[in-house]
């Protein structure tokens, strides 16, 4: 572009009236101002922190944290370091986010389909649900669910459902399978089954391609995995005379249940709150995605004699999916970031633990930095995954 301008014009216009120079100059001045502003703020911060003897450092990370954490995916005790405590928080956030995303997607899809149902009751119940949940702040909902857990009886008077499930105001205690000595033998079967499942998937894909017919290979692979792992379970039991896992029933001791698995009230309230809230938005995305598929597609499918369910499953939904994925990604990110509200209901997520670390060490700047980097990488990772999936299902135009 620059070469198209005649040479003579350059010499006749002074540089400060040359739009090309001005364009560059203005941007340089702006950049200088921004950097200088940041520099002044940074210097100010360092000066202030130095005065208070609070210079940022990461050395605290190797010091024992010495505070207890209510629940953890990995073993944790207060003698472990701050960095390990931080990882516990990270994993707790990941746990609620991953389970939450799966459940919210399932509930959201059902909700979206219900809203479009011709059944008056279904569509109106779904609409009422959407309107109520969408218009109440999430924090309020979380606190509501958490206070609801207090309505349950004390541990000693738990509601007993067939000796396997106990409901009480500290959470839900369930009978849970515990691995036995033969568990490691069975693991070989599980691993083998996984390889077999991959093989089944590949074979089916080749078959589909050869016959030039569309088809989904994943269900076959999953079925194969379940069958082989199941057979392995029976055989392991028969040969070693011991089942790889036994169901352990919880037993009430003096203060709490021992054995089984307990889902804490905090976790349950957070998960329920996040799922119910996010499902509403996912439901609306599903609804709009389905509505965006042109009416002609539906009519054509019906004309071919496909049933209502087949039309939805084979024609409408695959097309709607392409529209739904990008907005769905931002809902998944929202759910992950909203999980930081856990701090209000005593679930030790990343934000909560980082806050405690900050409070105990006084290292606000490094801790906030770590927190920001963690949430940012979690969000970027989710986006990456979803973008990859999005690219895979997009129509390839030829």
């Amino acid at each position: 572009m620059a070469s198209s301008i005649p040479r003579t014009s350059r010499s006749s216009i002074p540089f400060y009236r040359d739009t090309r120079v001005i364009a560059v100059l203005v941007q340089v001045i702006f950049a200088v101002a921004v950097v200088a502003g940041c520099w002044v703020l940074y210097q100010n911060m360092i000066a202030g922190l130095t005065r208070a003897n609070l210079l940022p450092t990461f050395s605290f990370l190797n010091v024992p944290a010495s505070f207890p954490i209510a629940e953890s995916v990995i073993p944790y005790d207060p003698s472990m370091t701050y960095s390990q405590a931080f990882v516990v928080g990270l994993l707790n956030t990941a746990r609620v986010a991953i389970i939450g995303i799966v459940l919210a997607t399932i509930l959201g899809v059902i909700l979206g389909i219900f809203r479009l149902s011709s059944n008056w009751l279904l569509s109106n119940v779904a609409m009422a649900y959407v309107e109520i949940v969408r218009n109440v702040p999430l924090l309020l909902q979380l606190i509501f669910w958490f206070y609801l857990t207090k309505m349950f009886p004390r541990v000693q008077e738990s509601i007993n459902l067939g000796d396997a499930v106990y409901l009480h105001n500290r959470g839900v205690t369930l009978a849970w399978p515990e691995p036995t000595a033969s568990f490691s033998n069975w693991l070989w079967w599980v691993g083998g089954a996984l390889l077999a499942a991959v093989a089944i998937y590949v074979v089916r894909q080749i078959q589909f391609r050869r016959r030039d017919r569309p088809g989904v290979a994943v269900p076959y692979a999953i079925l194969g995995w379940i069958v082989i792992a199941g057979v392995g379970y029976v055989l392991t039991t028969a040969f070693s005379g011991m089942a790889p896992a036994v169901l352990v029933f919880p037993e009430l001791q003096r203060f709490n249940f021992v054995g089984g698995a307990t889902v804490t009230a905090s976790f349950a309230a957070l998960l329920i709150g996040l799922v119910i809230y996010t499902a509403v938005y996912i439901g609306e995305i599903v609804r709009s995605g389905i509505l965006a598929v042109s009416k002609g597609q539906r009519e054509a499918a019906r004309a071919l004699g496909l049933s209502q369910g087949q039309t939805l499953r084979l024609v409408i939904f695959p097309q709607a999916l392409r529209i739904m994925i990008p907005p769905m990604t931002s809902q998944y990110l929202n759910l992950t970031k909203n999980s930081s509200l856990a701090v209000a209901i005593a679930y030790p997520d990343l934000f909560y633990i980082a806050n405690t670390i900050n409070n105990q060490t006084g290292q606000a700047v490094p801790v906030i930095l770590m927190l920001m980097v963690s949430y940012l990488s979690a969000s970027l990772f989710t986006s990456l995954l979803m973008n990859w999936y999005n690219r895979n299902i997009q129509l390839v135009e030829r």
Partner: protein
């Protein structure tokens, strides 16, 4: 065109970064300083010459005091018309009385246990008087300076009477409610680890939530400072069902704190606190202050600022102690008003008596 812009921009940026990294202040940055950072704490070039906190407060006309955000009757609570009262609140008033001769010149900032030190670090508050424990970690790493302890406390445990728990040793496997960002959270873990007991913590960021979770039976025990337990028990739905175990799990010296690095302001808060101790030692109360003002005893005349220039040395008026006594009273008056025999708590003075009566309160001489 677009591409051609990137290179000069990058060049300019790297130049600036290089310039700023160098020792002398970048000429481009210097003139921006006053406009981008108008806060009084700015002027990064000369940290030594900054305005002290005491001058800032005097210019502002009020002292900003961090107090408990949850009602802790006896220490800090707000009534329906927004009036703060309590032991900690009275020390906020004492600071205002000493500075402005008016105990109402206090702006209260309700703070949670997690936010309190950050509020002090960022300069949002001038002084923190929020039943906070003096520890080495907080004095050092967290960057606080502590004033003399106003309340010697220890961590206790509250349980239901029908639980059959008589000491902490009975609590193996129990679920315990505790507030985060506190020393009690750390002591709890330490004590149980030392005793080889297990426990399931339920940790809340908020004192009210901690108490109500315990009240609902979500926890077998509720731990905090004993004074906090005594205060909280009155807020439970059925106080008679609960008891405080006799075990004391830690030392909890509670007192005012200020941000490290401003010795002048720290001195002022220290000596305002000491004045309440010293007044009790002399027997000077808000009621008999007038009689003492006529005293001929030199040390009392000095203490009340009638002669000498004692206050000036710590940046206060010479009669600052008299102002504190006039408006808030001596330590015994503050204690009895909030926690004494005429209150629902009726806490014995214990360690919080003067050294002359077997307690730990001891003021260095005012001279």
């Amino acid at each position: 065109m677009r591409r051609s812009l990137v290179i000069p921009l990058a060049a300019a940026l790297s130049l600036i970064i290089a310039a700023c990294g160098g020792a002398p202040a970048a000429p481009t940055a210097a003139p921006e300083a006053p406009t981008t950072a108008p806060a009084p704490t700015a002027a990064p070039a000369a940290p030594a010459a900054t305005t002290g906190r005491l001058e800032t407060i005097t210019a502002r006309g009020t002292v900003i005091c961090g107090v408990n955000n949850n009602p802790l009757p006896g220490f800090a609570s707000v009534d329906a018309s927004g009036v703060y009262s309590g032991f900690d609140v009275d020390f906020c008033k004492a600071v205002a009385a000493a500075l402005f001769d008016d105990p109402s010149k206090v702006e209260y900032r309700p703070l949670s246990s997690q936010d309190r030190f950050t509020a002090l670090q960022t300069g949002e508050i001038d002084v923190l008087i929020r039943n906070s424990t003096w520890t080495l970690g907080r004095d050092g790493d967290v960057g606080l300076d502590w004033s003399p302890t106003t309340f010697y406390d220890g961590q206790g445990m509250m349980v239901r009477k029908d639980s059959g728990i008589t000491s902490i040793d009975d609590m193996d496997g129990a679920t315990i409610c505790v507030q985060t960002g506190t020393t009690t959270e750390l002591n709890l873990a330490d004590v149980f680890r030392a005793k080889g007991l297990t426990f399931q913590p339920v940790v809340f960021p908020d004192g009210d939530q901690t108490r109500s979770a315990y009240d609902a039976g979500q926890c077998d025990g509720f731990t905090t400072d004993k004074s906090g337990l005594v205060s909280s028990i009155t807020l439970l739905s059925n106080p008679a069902d609960h008891q405080i175990l006799s075990d004391t799990m830690s030392k909890e010296p509670l007192g005012p704190s200020v941000l490290q690095g401003d010795p002048k302001w720290a001195d002022a808060v220290n000596w305002i606190t000491y004045a309440t101790f010293q007044a009790e030692e002399y027997g000077i109360t808000s009621a008999n202050l007038a009689e003492f003002s006529a005293s001929e005893v030199p040390e009392i005349r000095r203490f009340l600022g009638i002669e000498g220039e004692l206050g000036k040395g710590v940046g206060l008026s010479n009669d600052f102690a008299a102002r504190v006594i006039k408006h808030v009273g001596n330590y015994a008056e503050i204690y009895n008003r909030n926690l004494g025999p005429d209150t629902p708590f009726n806490l014995p003075r214990g360690l919080n008596a003067l050294y002359t009566e077997g307690g730990l309160l001891y003021s260095p001489p005012f001279r």
